[in-house]
């Protein structure tokens, strides 16, 4: 006869049912509680609770609470430190931006000042140059006028001298030529001695 798994399961169920019906061999009802056993359970449990509550769970709870408080505090401190660092970073960034803006403003101002200074120096130099040119022109004018005046004076004198000489004797063409040459030489000599 072939024994299949289904047969085995049926056999098990029958076996269990018969065993259960037989009351476990000692006719003990598994669902009727025994007061003495229940009382013993209560007593053992309460004694255990008293001892463990006093000597084991109290220190364990204290240890757990201490560690929890330590971790909570550490987390809070870390959070605060992080927030503080963020705030400081923001503050430093702001300060850095301000410093950068100030530096830019200072450089701009310096550049502007330099530009103004350069322009004023230019202006002054140009004014000075104009003044010098004016002065030189004036001096040149004065020198020219005085030279012209001297030349006129000299011409008049030479003419006077020449007239006196003409009055003294009759002039031939060669005299004219000699007189002119002498006058020119004299003027040249005078100019040379003046210089």
């Amino acid at each position: 006869m072939r024994f299949s798994l289904r047969h085995a399961m049926i056999a098990t169920l029958c076996f269990s049912a018969v065993a259960f019906a037989s009351g476990g061999g000692e006719n003990v009802d598994p669902v009727s509680p025994d007061l003495w056993q229940a009382g013993f359970t209560i007593a053992v449990f309460l004694i255990l609770l008293f001892i463990l509550g006093k000597f084991a769970f109290k220190p364990i709870m204290k240890g757990l609470n201490d560690r929890e408080a330590f971790i909570t505090n550490a987390l809070r401190d870390a959070d605060e430190a992080s927030k503080k660092a963020q705030a400081q970073l923001a503050e430093y960034s702001q300060k850095l931006d301000q410093a950068r803006a100030e530096a830019t403003a200072i450089v701009e101002e310096g550049r502007r000042d330099a530009e103004v200074t350069k322009r004023s120096i230019h202006e002054e130099a140009r004014n000075e140059a104009d003044k010098m040119i004016e002065r030189a022109k004036r001096e040149i004018g004065i020198a020219r006028d005085s030279a012209v005046r001297e030349l006129c004076d000299l011409g008049a004198k030479l003419a006077t001298d020449a007239a006196s000489k003409i009055v003294g004797r009759e002039l031939s063409p060669s005299d004219h030529e000699r007189l002119i040459r002498e006058s020119i030489d004299e003027i040249s000599a005078q100019n040379a001695s003046r210089n």
Binding site: A8, T41, I51
Partner: protein, 294 residues
Amino acid sequence: MTHLTTLMASADPMTHVLPHEIARFGPFSFTNHMLMLLISAGLMLLIFPMLARRYTALSAGERPSAPSGILNFFESIMNFIRKEVVYPSLHEHTDRFLPYLWTLFFFILFNNLLGMIPMDAISSAVFGKQHLFGTATAGISVTAGLAVISFLVFHGAGVVAQYHHGVEHGKSAGAAFVMAPFSYLASMVPAVPGIIGKLLFLPLLVLEFALSFVKPFALAIRLFANMLAGHVVLASLLALAPAIRHMADAGVALPAVLGCAALSCLELFVAFLQAYIFVFLTSMFIGAAVSPDH
């Protein structure tokens, strides 16, 4: 083969789960379930004070150290119970009830797990004496005892909470003490506005009063039935292996043993699950009693 049969499964699967007398003191019998309770309590008394000493050492400095090894294992369970199971129900009352709920959880868990170790089969094989050990939580008396404690704790907590509530609202200590049980009974009834609330108050009170007894009864039956059923099914399956040897079909024994292995894994899970459910429901009942408004 007799020893093998005894070792793997008795001829009666119920014998594994029923209490058996191992000694008698006058009218009182000392059963294997009681012995298992004492062994569990002893183990807890050995383990937890040792953990507490290590905790004290860890917390001694300014900077508490993290636990390691076995301490870490138990702490993760204890922290889970505290944060995920108890705190959502009890909030600010958590630390007040935590020692009780931790003790309850580990007491049930240790008893469930000890029941899974085949100590009885080993003692039968070695000493030739049967039924020295067993699964205490598969006995209705044990689970009923634990449920009675839960019943007393959550109703007691509710009455004490009503006493404090009365004192806070200007009642004298004596009046608050006398009125606390009645206030607690009244607080059980959910608030229904209007005339319907007044009409429904009495029937709801009766219902809630009955429910307050049903709750611990359900706690006891749930734990007992789960542990009993798991062991009976395992024992029945294991009984197949030797019982069919003369049927010359080893192809049945192998699936039976493999099925037992799988069911043992399931029962290991159930051992944790039932301890969790017992504590979870108890903390919910305490929470409802202490803060009926929630």
